[in-house]
């Protein structure tokens, strides 16, 4: 099996482009892959990461005149095991939550997906979409409480006839890039503050600070910190 090295989204690409990672989440058979396929069309060329059950797709574009390289991560069926490998969330800059307009249970399960996502990525922008609107014309008249409650951009989409798919992905890419840029600035600020703090604190704290610096604010390393703090306190 071909080995692909895990991409690092904190570094810029060889071409100087900004690298962002966007993940899809939602139940089995809601159409996550079909949405990516509809957006990428001819560019739908999956790369398999050998280490984990997941698929990623690269897309090159421009946001505000700068080059952006987007990796869309798709679950490759991992959702069947009810939670995703932590690497799926690692360094993600935005997430698209998908449910199926024809299956209520997929809407109900959004709560669990969001909860798991927020354990790893408390702050990244999350987009929500109701897919398969082609299968039920009335669904677009319905109001859904979940995205409203969590203040998420919401789209009625169809991977089949294409409505709003490109629009959603483009918005999501912009949000991912802007999150990455801002959080980097923000992280610099935090890091400067923490460097001063470091002088007064012990080595252990310092290691943890640098841990979180490898990712953007509020991330999987926070989890580890939580675990460690159990030992400390």
């Amino acid at each position: 099996m071909a080995k692909t090295v895990d991409p690092d989204y904190d570094k810029d690409g060889t071409d100087g482009e900004t690298k962002v990672k966007i993940i899809g989440l939602g139940d089995s058979a809601v159409g996550k892959s079909k949405l990516v396929e509809r957006f990428l069309m001819d560019g739908y060329k999956p790369q398999q990461l050998s280490t984990y059950a997941l698929t990623l797709f690269n897309y090159k574009t421009q946001v505000n005149d700068s080059k952006v390289s987007v990796d869309f991560w798709d679950t490759a069926g991992q959702e069947r095991f009810n939670n995703m490998h932590p690497s799926y969330y690692h360094q993600a800059h935005a997430c698209i939550l998908v449910f199926d307009a024809t299956r209520k249970v997929t809407y109900k399960n959004l709560t669990n997906w969001l909860k798991e996502l927020r354990e790893y990525r408390p702050e990244i922008p999350v987009f929500c979409c109701c897919n398969k609107i082609d299968a039920d014309p009335n669904v677009t008249k319905k109001v859904f409480g979940f995205p409203k409650k969590h203040n998420m951009p919401f789209y009625y989409v169809s991977a089949s006839d294409g409505r709003n798919v490109v629009r959603m992905f483009k918005d999501c890419i912009k949000a991912a890039v802007s999150y990455k840029n801002n959080s980097t600035d923000f992280m610099d600020e935090i890091m400067r503050e923490l460097e001063n703090y470091d002088l007064e604190s012990d080595r252990k704290d310092k290691d943890e600070v640098f841990d979180s610096g490898t990712d953007s604010l509020g991330n999987s390393s926070e989890k580890e910190e939580n675990k460690k703090s159990g030992d400390d306190s």
Binding site: K34, R103, Y107, A135, V143, F144, R167
Partner: protein, 167 residues
């Protein structure tokens, strides 16, 4: 041979040796023909989706099978495999009916892989029905549509009876 030159009338199974059998009409001659497509090395342990894919990608069968949905082909092959597994025909048909049914309340994260694949194949029928793809007259890569909600329809109870926890 163009798609319109023949029409599939019936499809069924032969158990021993296992095969898919279709009856089709050749329009130019108005004659019915039968074609038998054997499932090679098929046993009770064989994977249904793999066997279906083998048939569908076999160039010799392509023109006959292109009109049969993947879901239907998988159904027929599952019936053969159930029989090899010792299941009665009645039980197998009932099981297959359940596999073909999409229940909006059923959590598909929890079904076995074969059932999931089958249900995806059933959903694909709907997907293909409404599909607008490149080359179609109304195809547009980027189609944005806004929908107006006048608050008349709530999410049809999708938000009520909520067991949703706060977080």
């Amino acid at each position: 041979m163009g798609d319109e030159e023949y029409e599939v009338k019936k499809c069924g199974v032969r158990f021993n040796p296992p095969a898919i059998v279709i009856t089709y009409l050749v329009k130019s001659t108005s004659k019915l023909h039968r074609r038998t497509m054997p499932l090679r090395n098929f046993t009770a342990n064989s994977k249904v989706d793999k066997a279906a894919e083998e048939l569908r990608t076999n160039p010799r069968h392509l023109k006959y099978l292109s009109r049969i949905t993947k879901a239907q082909l998988e159904r027929l092959i599952t019936i053969i495999r159930d029989k090899l597994d010792g299941m009665s025909l009645a039980d197998s048909l009932a099981r297959n009916d359940r596999m073909d049914q999409i229940d909006p309340e059923e959590d598909l994260n929890k079904v076995d892989e074969e059932t999931l694949k089958r249900k995806k194949a059933v959903m694909d029928i709907e997907f293909e029905k409404h599909r607008i793809k490149p080359g179609d007259p109304s195809f547009q890569y980027d189609i944005s549509v806004d929908f107006e909600q006048n608050g008349e329809i709530e999410a049809a109870g999708w938000d009520s009876d909520s067991s949703e926890g706060e977080f």
